[in-house]
Symmetry: C2
Subunit: 133 residues, 2 copies
């Protein structure tokens, strides 16, 4: 097995978080759509689809490296937005949290000298970087 | 608002179940892939994507009808398959459960004379019918 047990476990957790992000963005997109802010709605529905794609990008990597997949339970996402600004702030908070999580995975991959994982995570580092600007 | 509160709530629950189905199928597909049964893996990864599409089909319907979306928490899916037969049985169990859930939603839509919901749910009835054969 090319992937360590600790990295396998961390990647499974991250798959859950990316799917959780999808659900958060579905709620945010739905909020904007219901408020008739349709372009914001469309933007966040697209973002929801992207997060689903992120989750699914980890799966073949872990399997190719001999790992197993067990998607964790997904906690309740926020749906109680007070204002458009509040909904956008919730989205930004998610992106910041995910950046910290990806950095944590990279720390683990560097520590374990897992260069395949580092290549994969490098893609996520690049993906997340411009989303803060 | 065209959608009743009870149907809005039931549709939100169903969105959670379809996303839960997606996660169950990711686990099943990953099991088959790890066991080197790659075509079964591919089949169930496709099924996972379909379930995600089902969840997302309910969202614009509920929003168009004046409802709100709050995706529920998603319980842990099974990942401890003893055999390929066990994994296939888990998938069949999901499909049967979803058929019962869709029928329950249709009962509610009929009771409420919500013809728009009945049209949407009719699509799901047709979609689920052939998956049992």
């Amino acid at each position: 097995m090319l992937i360590s047990k600790s990295l396998e476990s961390a990647i499974n957790e991250q798959i859950g978080r990316e799917l959780g992000a999808q659900m958060q963005y579905i709620n945010i997109a739905s909020y904007f759509t219901a408020e008739n802010m349709l372009l914001f709605g469309k933007l966040f529905f697209n973002q929801a689809a992207e997060e689903n794609g992120h989750a699914l990008k980890f799966v073949p990597y872990a399997l190719d490296a001999g790992g197993r997949i067990a998607v964790p339970a997904i906690p309740l996402a926020r749906a109680d937005f007070n204002s458009p600004a509040d909904a956008v702030a919730a989205a930004l908070k998610w992106e910041e949290d995910v950046t910290v999580q990806i950095n944590g995975l990279m720390d683990l991959a560097v520590k374990e000298k897992d260069y395949i994982a580092q290549e994969l995570l490098g893609w996520f580092v690049n993906e997340h970087h411009p989303q803060h600007y």
